[in-house]
Symmetry: C2
Subunit: 197 residues, 2 copies
DNA sequence: TGTACATCAGTGAACGCGCGTTCACTGATGTAC
DNA sequence: TGTACATCAGTGAACGCGCGTTCACTGATGTAC
């Protein structure tokens, strides 16, 4: 087991980020060790630092990748939705609320900071904020046809913001409370709201 | 420094739970050690296990206390609000969104599980779920005059659920994204929604 | 009330564990001639 | 093309650290007489 070729090494690096992104979403950043990530790729822990400066650096890349893939998934939902049919944003919301398996967990929730700490202290805080903004932008673009001016939101902007916040909040509460009837009521409620507006 | 009196010991125990509840909300359960909690009460770590079986047991009590104090705070907001004036739930929502200091952080967010794990694995999961349900119950009671049947929600139930979810989701996104203009827009949006309905 | 003893709240050092990180080493890959 | 050497991706043991927990000990409190 000596050196890998440059192309293989590059491939390994990408694999590590992808695996970490998945494992972080499934179990949380704190509950996944560097050694576990390497083992999941059939490697040992020592080699990790040939690719990354630290675990925090990996967290940043893994966060960015997770949000990127979420954006792609949202685009796919949009593209599958019949252009002429009902509100496409409503379809996204429905998908979002349904799709609560561990593997596909939304990074907005999986990486959410339970507590707010100074940005420099929390690894990946910058990437999380950027990713959250990008998903919100994508939602607003579809819902109200473009980014609103945060300083002067229109009524339509505000309605869309509420639905976005409710969508995220509903899934947070649903997965926490873990009572099926409440989850269904939450989903029905958000679905109703998104259709009405 | 020998034994404390029984009443003093009981007082110390209550202080530990109160201090832990505050520190957990400020910095997160994972980022506060047993030794730190004891030091904050002017004690050393060894005595902790005369009061609690484990850190997990303290977490459970601290969670319950935090939710209990949140319920009391909500009651106080309700009682201060003029009975005859506008929607009292709207006042609560406004308070909730404004009150984002670290010390008063809502346990719904501070203790939110970023990832869903089996209930037995995550300390305090039961207390969190119960606390979340109790706050939702209190909100629904004020907003639609009583607990709705989760299996057959009315339209008013659904609207209240959306506002509750949006309130929580908005604060989660606001503290994460940390961009003041977005926070204000989020608050304006939720305020508008709660007043309209 | 006073005395002798048992109790036990609190002490602080030590233990065990998992984690992030380091390091000397290996051997296949890349490169210069 | 072949050969000699340098490079460096990956290995796996070891280190340092913080944490939850344990334990022998202390001495004021509680209790029995």
């Amino acid at each position: 087991m000596g050196r890998s070729s440059q192309s293989k090494a590059k491939e390994n690096r990408a694999q590590i980020v992808q695996t970490a992104s998945r494992m972080f979403r499934e179990a949380g950043v704190e509950n996944v060790s560097v050694a576990q990530i390497m083992a999941a790729n059939g490697m040992t822990v020592g080699g990790f630092y040939k690719h990354f400066e630290s675990k925090d650096a990996l967290i940043e890349e893994a966060f960015s990748l997770a949000f990127e893939q979420s954006r792609e998934a949202w685009d796919e939902v949009y593209s599958r939705a019949d252009e002429a049919s009902q509100d496409r944003a409503a379809i996204l919301v429905r998908q979002y609320l349904r799709n609560s398996s561990a593997k596909n967990r939304c990074p907005l929730l999986a990486f959410a900071p339970g507590v707010a700490v100074t940005e420099s202290e929390r690894p990946g805080a910058h990437e999380y904020a950027e990713g959250a903004k990008s998903l919100l932008d994508k939602f607003m673009k579809e819902k109200v046809g473009g980014l609103c001016d945060p300083a002067h939101p229109t009524d339509a902007d505000n309605e869309a913001l509420v639905i976005f916040a409710a969508m995220v909040g509903a899934r947070l509460l649903a997965q926490s409370v873990g009572q099926q009837s409440w989850i269904q009521a939450m989903e029905a409620a958000v679905n109703m709201a998104v259709i009405k507006h």
